[in-house]
Symmetry: C2
Subunit: 243 residues, 2 copies
């Protein structure tokens, strides 16, 4: 059942040494193309990284060696207004993607696309891992992949035959995520404390990487300082957010 | 087969008069929660709009009357750092989500979540439609849903029993979307012209809403002027992009 597939997702970071055929990668990307797209702008491009040197550079720059070196396929998902600029030029026109709305559209379009790719891959028995680390050194990664104006790498994805079986992490209580008619914070403390207990037990009892912490503790530690403060400048360099 | 489900998606905007049970909505949202999340921040909240008055207000504000009035269920997907602020406060801490990175994380997390909801719904035979129109009057919609600081409505989704059968629109040629090792524009003109012919034939021959145009023409017309220029100010109001 499809919903069972969706709810059994966990990231896979160790893969068996089995390549994925180009034909399969194309099948997965076609599935991605069929996700919804805002006003049908189709603002996503995928870079399929097959060159071992480039894979190595991405592995170092994104600090995700294990996935990039061992995966059966490595993709980098980019939001893309460059292709749209080419489309407009066929009519002697220029597009204006300089405002915040275009960043939202590009990020959402690209994520919907990628999630289809992820589900398609998992439906074929592969494991996947999203790699937000491509935003660590985003400018250098854009250079390696020769990304022009209008193109921004948002995340990578490693895909391969799983060589590990991870448990599914418990999610926030449904009541803390699903609000009715209005946003309601009145029971957040209760829900979060309850979830913290769930996660403490989960982290303490899982097979690997056991630890003594809670979700709220991890979030407080992780988000206390601003993250990846270079992103805005890179977006401006690529032609976004200039107005 | 799951990939057949993914590639058969088309937006459904007309629904039969059959409600969707709360139990089903909860099942779909649980599937959404199981999508990947950057550093497990789980930065998405869903507002389930059951109040007929609020539905009506959203229908007017987003200019999507048909979907909002006739759907079996209406959801609004929000990126959410408010809940994360609550989590940090349990430890006497404050989080800093004021930089661009947090907008990308929030938009991507929310879109991955929503695409799981969409696929789960379609796997049960429902039709869905993403509603970017909630960003038209984003500030007013945030007021209707009482969204506090840290919460931004990104899009809505209508879900229901389909009362129309739409064809699947042809997507861009795979070669125009999937690049190998570097971004390559050399054949864009060729690919886009070929796609334009495909789309001209599709638009001219489909059952409803026939028109004489091409994809590149639509994009040039749509993107010539900047879209929804009020988004940045709203993000700042909610605590984003302030640094």
């Amino acid at each position: 059942m499809v919903i069972d597939l969706l709810t059994s997702h966990s990231s896979v970071r160790r893969y068996k040494d089995e390549p994925i055929s180009r034909e399969t990668v194309e099948e997965l990307v076609r599935a991605g193309q069929h996700a919804a797209s805002s006003h049908f702008v189709q603002a996503c491009s995928v870079i399929y990284v097959t060159d071992p040197d480039k894979r190595g550079q991405l592995a170092e720059l994104s600090k995700n060696r294990r996935q990039f070196y061992t995966a059966g396929a490595v993709l980098v998902f980019c939001m893309d207004y460059n292709r749209l600029s080419h489309a407009a030029k066929l009519h002697g026109r220029e597009i204006d993607f300089s405002v915040m709305e275009n960043v939202l559209v590009g990020a959402i379009d690209t994520a919907l696309f990628a999630q289809n790719v992820a589900i398609a891959a998992e439906s074929k028995g592969y494991g996947i891992c999203y790699i937000g680390g491509v935003r660590n050194e985003i400018e250098e990664i854009a250079e390696v992949l020769e990304l022009p104006r209008g193109v921004v790498p948002l995340f990578g994805m490693s895909i391969g035959v799983p060589n590990e079986a991870n448990g599914v992490r418990p999610r926030l209580p449904l009541e803390a995520v699903l609000h009715e008619n209005k946003y309601d914070t009145t029971k957040y403390d209760e829900y979060l404390r309850s979830y913290d207990e769930t996660m403490r037990e989960y982290y303490a009892s899982r097979d690997t990487n056991q630890k003594d912490t809670t979700w709220s503790q991890q979030m407080a530690d992780f988000l206390e300082n601003p993250q990846r403060t270079h992103i805005k400048a890179f977006l401006e360099k690529q032609g976004f957010l200039c107005k």
